[in-house]
């Protein structure tokens, strides 16, 4: 792999195994070599993707298209079902903001655990705590259990932690939707500054953000890359498609056999 690539995927695919009954999963474990007890639902299929060091990528697409699954694969949260994936450097995923917090722990303790998950030394996190506190700007709530936090406060703290781990790759999944305008501005300023030194992958439905921050756009649709390349071109195609396609449930259907199995 050439050294300037941060992310390289070849034929990357992710299938979930759908079981009609929970017990089928055990049968699959025991007798899997003789019979298949599940239906496969391919969320992503044959994704080939090269992302160079320092690039900013905007990922767009409709709900259920596979954007979040792609990010989850890239940061190692989920294992791919097939294909090759190589990611170099430290990844800081800002997905499902604050969902990884322990409700009983204070914000400060969660920052210690969260920082350790991202590979930071304890002493280092403690040294950066004032800066994290300043970025999150949640005042005395930093020393309260996170169950008392509002969604926005949780998102603030989660973003603040990820912003302080010296990541090489930052993955942001619709993170700015919950924050207020002031916080969004702060996050955008941070991402603008980050793209000077690292690789940024941004999932969003806000086309203006993609145009403002990304060098390249990737349109994920129906589990594959539908278009990729120049930001203006891809967002224009996407906009056109959205205007043309009906917003009905048809997009969410998979194998009809699976439907029957799930109903049965």
């Amino acid at each position: 792999m050439p050294s300037e690539l941060t992310i390289r995927c070849r034929g990357l695919g992710k299938a979930f195994q759908l079981y009609a009954h929970r017990t089928d999963q055990v049968k699959q474990l025991l007798f899997g070599s003789f019979h298949r007890y599940y239906q496969e639902f391919w969320v992503l299929r044959d994704v080939d993707l090269d992302i160079a060091c320092g690039e900013s990528i905007g990922i767009i697409g409709r709900n259920g298209g596979g954007k979040t699954t792609l990010l989850r694969l890239l940061c190692g949260m989920t294992e791919p079902s097939r294909g090759e994936l190589t990611v170099a450097g430290r990844v800081a995923p800002i997905l499902a903001l604050g969902a990884g917090f322990d409700a009983e722990l204070t914000g400060r303790q969660n920052a210690l655990v969260g920082g350790a998950v991202l590979g930071l030394r304890r002493a280092e996190i403690i040294r950066r705590m004032p800066s994290i506190a300043e970025f999150a700007a949640i005042g005395p709530f930093l020393d309260q259990p996170t169950r008392l936090y509002s969604t926005g406060m949780r998102a603030r703290l989660a973003f603040a932690i990820c912003a302080h781990v010296d990541a090489d790759v930052l993955m942001v999944d619709e993170a700015l939707a919950v924050g207020d305008a002031a916080f969004s501005r702060k996050c955008i300023a941070f991402m603008e500054e980050f793209r000077q030194r690292g690789t940024l992958i941004l999932v969003t439905h806000d086309m203006s953000q993609v145009k403002q921050m990304c060098d390249r756009a990737i349109w994920i649709d129906d589990g594959g890359i539908r278009a990729s390349g120049d930001v203006d071109e891809v967002t224009r195609l996407y906009q056109q498609a959205i205007d043309a396609e009906a917003d009905d449930g048809a997009r969410f259907y998979f194998e009809s056999e699976t439907d029957r199995a799930l109903e049965g």
Binding site: G11, L85, T86, V91, D102, E255
Partner: protein, 293 residues
């Protein structure tokens, strides 16, 4: 627009992060340990949280970790000093010696039992964490083992204080305890990985453990010692690794003698195998296990 459904491959290849992917046999063998070393800070952070959590909401806090074993030992002393005499040979000597011997058996047994009952639900317990952050699921087993050993360690200190108070002296061989604890730790790690991987797919593993583990106290030399058994049963009893550990710890702490080296060597090799095989099983099923929980 539908793409053709790809044929499922046997394995996907993933390399994330800066870790070297050297696949020398030695690196493969020690992978469970190199991984734990890489995430030592994280293990420490989560372990601290879990230990604080256990007594967090109580007034007496950590005293409970001491009070529990104290009450247990006190009751056994009372019972075997006066009331009861079990019809096994090891109960015929000094009653305080017998009470201490039971206590040592219970310390080990309850550590193993806690782990066996908890391991099958380990992934489910941390599901929110595993699904929403890049938490490496392998190290949950390390955390669970260290947690069980911490409580056992508190009990061992209580044990030694009592032994000093009752008999007036400690056997110097108790300093060799770590020699047994290290392979025990490896054994427990392997068990935790296997149970956690299986437990993610079916609740039956958790139910099986909840039923089976308390029964094992009869098949484990807790209230008796292996020497009390008829000769042909002794060999069978040594097949129970927990029993072997209890006997080795007793001989160090109570007997003041070293344990048989052959038995120890066998136990070390066995533990290492359980640990490495357990890790392989966990690695193999980790991906679908995380999708299943």
């Amino acid at each position: 627009m539908t793409l053709p459904v790809p044929r499922p491959l046997d394995r996907a290849s993933v390399r994330i992060g800066t870790a070297s992917a050297a696949a020398t046999p030695l690196a493969t063998l020690v992978r469970p340990f190199s991984l734990a070393w890489r995430f030592r800070e994280l293990i420490g952070a989560v372990l601290r949280r879990e230990l604080a959590d256990r007594f967090g909401g109580s007034l007496l806090g950590w005293l409970w970790a001491v009070i529990g074993p104290l009450i247990t030992l006190g009751l056994y002393l009372l019972a075997f000093l006066g009331a009861v005499h079990l019809p096994v040979a090891s109960a015929q000597g000094s009653p305080s010696h017998y009470a201490l011997s039971i206590f040592m058996g219970l310390i080990v047994f309850s550590a193993v039992a806690e782990l066996c009952c908890r391991a099958p639900v380990l992934l489910q317990e941390h599901a929110w964490f595993l699904k929403s952050s890049i938490f490496p699921s392998e190290i949950l087993a390390w955390i669970a083992v260290f947690r069980a050993l911490t409580f056992a360690g508190v009990s061992v200190v209580v044990f030694l204080v009592f032994q000093l108070a009752i008999t007036g002296a400690l056997r110097p061989t108790f300093l060799l305890l770590p020699l047994i604890i290290v392979p025990l730790c490896l054994f427990l790690l392997g068990v935790a990985w296997i149970l956690a991987a299986l437990g993610a797919f079916t609740r039956d593993v958790a139910y099986l453990m909840a039923t089976f583990v308390p029964l094992m106290i009869v098949a484990t030399p807790v209230f008796y010692s292996i020497g009390d058994l008829p000769a042909d049963l002794q060999l069978v009893a040594y097949l129970n690794p927990v029993g072997a550990v209890i006997e080795m710890m007793r001989s160090l702490v109570l007997g003041g003698t070293a344990f048989p080296f052959i038995a120890y060597g066998v136990f070390c090799v066995f533990s290492l195998c359980v640990c490495r095989i357990g890790y392989s099983i966990f690695e193999r099923y980790k991906g679908i296990a995380l999708d299943a929980i």
